[in-house]
């Protein structure tokens, strides 16, 4: 996905509220969408329709849980300096690994940044070694030592 080519979407007021006000406290009850509908003063069917539409347009990545880092398995942010001529090849290889969940190209000497999530420390080490062997490049692993952000969701200003 190329950032420059993306265009933005326009959302109606209900959709904006669905996005802004329901990033936390999704109801843990039998009919959660009906509860949201009640708060918005619309029908459950409308809520589901809007959410399906927003998902289809990829405005919402998903409705789901956000996990605290390191609560499940072990993860790290890793970076490699990849020579320009090999960038596409190495980037594709990194993205193809199931343990890699984020992979970004960035404007820097260290031009490839990715997050690896493994079951445990040993598994993580194995993957880091595997990447070094496969690419012949050195990987710098920068695991989180402290988390300073209290995640309350992302305030969207429409």
């Amino acid at each position: 996905m190329n950032v420059q080519t993306l265009h933005t979407v326009s959302l109606n007021e209900t959709q904006q509220r669905l996005l802004n006000d329901f990033q936390r406290h999704f109801p843990l009850s039998s009919n959660p969408y009906a509860e949201i509908a009640e708060q918005l003063g619309i029908s459950e069917q409308e809520v589901l329709q809007h959410l399906k539409e927003l998902s289809k347009q990829k405005v919402i990545s998903r409705i789901g849980a956000v996990f605290r880092p390191h609560s499940i398995g072990r993860s790290t942010l890793a970076t490699i300096h990849v020579p320009a001529i090999r960038l596409a090849e190495v980037a594709n290889y990194i993205s193809s690994l199931p343990e890699v969940n984020h992979n970004y190209e960035r404007e820097h000497y260290f031009n490839l940044w990715f997050v690896i999530t493994a079951t445990d420390e040993e598994h993580l080490e194995d993957i880091l070694n595997e990447i070094e062997e496969e690419t012949g490049l050195s990987v710098i692993s920068l695991p989180m030592l402290e988390d300073y952000h209290i995640d309350l969701g992302f305030k969207l200003c429409f």
Binding site: M1, R62, P98, G153
Partner: protein, 159 residues
């Protein structure tokens, strides 16, 4: 607290998103052959234990116009990094703020703050606010903009 097998199955079954269906917990329960109450209870427990931070809609920043994604990296002395890390983590425009190890001599930044904006100018103004907050404790900083998102998926559980 350790996650048991059912917790893991629930996480796995929902990692690409909750069903957009009138009774989502019933759908998950049916797949895993447990009661819907058990599913809701497990989510409640994972929230209380802090394993889950929040449950809700996860917006895609890019589609909403926040196309400038600046990873700001800072060199802050170890003595004050916790104090300033907390302050920076509280800024409304910072979506992630972590302390990470230095990797000397090639990488001397130990504090990472992710800043999203609609333009690079907007990101730079926000980074400037962080620099002001740090004052003389900002020994060095850089902004790394993403030029391509090559892969972005939710958490994956690998068994």
């Amino acid at each position: 607290m350790k996650l048991d097998n059912l917790d893991r199955q629930i996480i796995q079954a929902t990692q690409t998103g909750f069903p957009l269906n009138s009774k989502p917990y019933h759908v998950i329960a049916e797949q895993l052959n447990v009661t819907p109450q058990e599913i809701m209870l497990r989510f409640q427990r994972m929230l209380e234990m802090g394993i889950i931070r929040r449950i809700g809609a996860i917006p895609n920043h890019y589609k909403l116009g926040f196309t400038a994604n600046g990873m700001s990296v800072w060199n802050v002395s170890d003595e004050v990094v916790d104090e300033y890390g907390k302050k920076i983590g509280e800024l409304p425009f910072v979506s992630h703020c972590y302390r990470r190890p230095r990797h000397l001599p090639i990488w001397h930044f130990n504090l990472f703050a992710m800043v999203h904006g609609k333009t690079r100018k907007e990101v730079e103004e926000k980074i400037e606010q962080i620099a002001l907050l740090l004052g003389e404790n900002d020994l060095d900083h850089q902004i790394l903009y993403s030029t391509k998102i090559l892969k972005k998926t939710g958490l994956r559980l690998i068994d």
